[in-house]
């Protein structure tokens, strides 16, 4: 059991390190790394300190695998909602940009025509 816990903790540490590396290389923005880091942190904590799981299991009165499933599922769900909000914001911005571009292009065309006529 101990070795399994160490493996899980190591995987989580690698996850955190990878996320940090992505942020360093500017491939991931800090604001989007927070949820990933938190997830990695929680898994490290639970694997190194299993008593925490036991406390939760006893307080909630559920099988501990159910708890693990619940925690991971919640994270994935949060992640997806987070992404949906980002996509919504991006698509709104993208539309405004396209509209502006079309109007600016029209103005530029008018300007060029005016210059051509002079």
């Amino acid at each position: 059991m101990i070795s399994l816990r160490i493996i899980i903790a190591c995987i989580s540490l690698v996850l955190i390190w990878s996320v940090a590396a992505l942020v360093r290389k500017r491939k991931l923005k800090v604001e989007y790394s927070i949820l990933w880091m938190t997830m990695g942190g929680v898994i490290v904590l639970l694997s190194l300190w299993p008593t925490l799981i036991n406390i939760f299991v006893q307080v909630l009165g559920i099988y501990y695998l159910t708890l693990i499933f619940l925690v991971s599922f919640t994270f994935v769900l949060l992640m997806l909602i987070h992404f949906s909000t980002i996509v919504s914001r991006l698509s709104e911005n993208e539309m405004i940009l396209a509209q502006k571009q079309a109007i600016l292009e029209w103005k530029l065309r008018k300007l060029m025509e005016d210059r051509g006529n002079k």
Partner: protein, 247 residues
């Protein structure tokens, strides 16, 4: 027409959203020019894959070319933003698919030009006209109209109509907030929220030039769900707003 001629200082723009309408567009623009002599027309090419922009470019009108397809709401809003920026007082939306007959647009423009309403909506169901969409569409429109009527406390018979004339106040509001796809039903609630005067005017409409609507099958189901959901969310908002006012 008389109202339009007597108010020369009023600048009116006809906004024509068009997506893959190379075959319908020329005839429509000619018709508009016949009905409204000397009026400004802007075609918004919503990222068409055919030669819509090219065709429009030869018609001696303004053309705004979107870099890719935004959907009808995004395209119409581009026209409204253009109208606002270029200082137009009234905009008339007239779809590029030939569904909205130009000769009917005058009926919409007149009450707006007279200053009686902020937005005039062409209704297919007020006139007892010839337009008879298929049954499911008619039922859908009825249900939307009923919900919207209750929400804005004003009888609406054709909530899905996109045939509208609007003044600068209404243009300003819709430049700030206008759903990207299937905007008609929700925009009525948006306009009402902003205390604008809405009126329905009986008009005739035609079926699309090529006979098939762009809203079919799964899209139709999405349309219904999307509009119902946005109305539901707006209803919740309305209650909150009301609550704050009452407090």
């Amino acid at each position: 027409m008389s109202a339009m001629q007597s108010r020369k200082e009023v600048k009116t723009l006809i906004v024509v959203p068009a997506y893959n309408e190379e075959s319908n567009l020329s005839a429509l623009i000619e018709k508009i020019k016949e009905e409204f002599a000397g009026i400004d027309i802007v075609v918004i090419d919503d990222g068409s894959k055919d030669k819509t922009s090219e065709v429009a470019g030869k018609l001696n009108i303004e053309v705004l070319q979107l870099p890719y397809n935004l959907g009808i709401g995004g395209a119409v809003q581009t026209g409204y933003k253009f109208a606002l920026e270029m200082g137009y007082d009234v905009a008339i939306r007239l779809d590029g698919d030939g569904q909205h007959p130009p000769q009917e647009a005058k009926k919409l423009a007149e009450p707006v030009l007279r200053g009686e309403v902020d937005i005039a909506i062409g209704s297919r169901y007020l006139s007892g006209g010839n337009y008879k969409p298929e049954l499911p569409r008619r039922v859908g429109t009825k249900i939307f109209s009923l919900i919207v009527s209750l929400m804005i406390k004003q009888k609406i018979t054709d909530a899905t109509s996109g045939f509208v004339a609007l003044n600068r106040d209404a243009i300003k509001i819709l430049c700030q907030e206008f759903p990207r796809d299937y905007p008609e039903v929700e925009s009525l609630v948006i306009l009402h929220r902003n205390h604008l005067r809405i009126a329905e005017i009986p008009v005739e409409m035609k079926r699309r030039g090529d006979g098939r609507s762009s809203i079919r099958g799964l899209k139709q189901a999405y349309y219904v769900v999307k509009v119902l959901l946005s109305l539901l969310i707006r209803m919740g908002e309305e209650k909150n707003v009301g609550g704050i006012v009452n407090d």
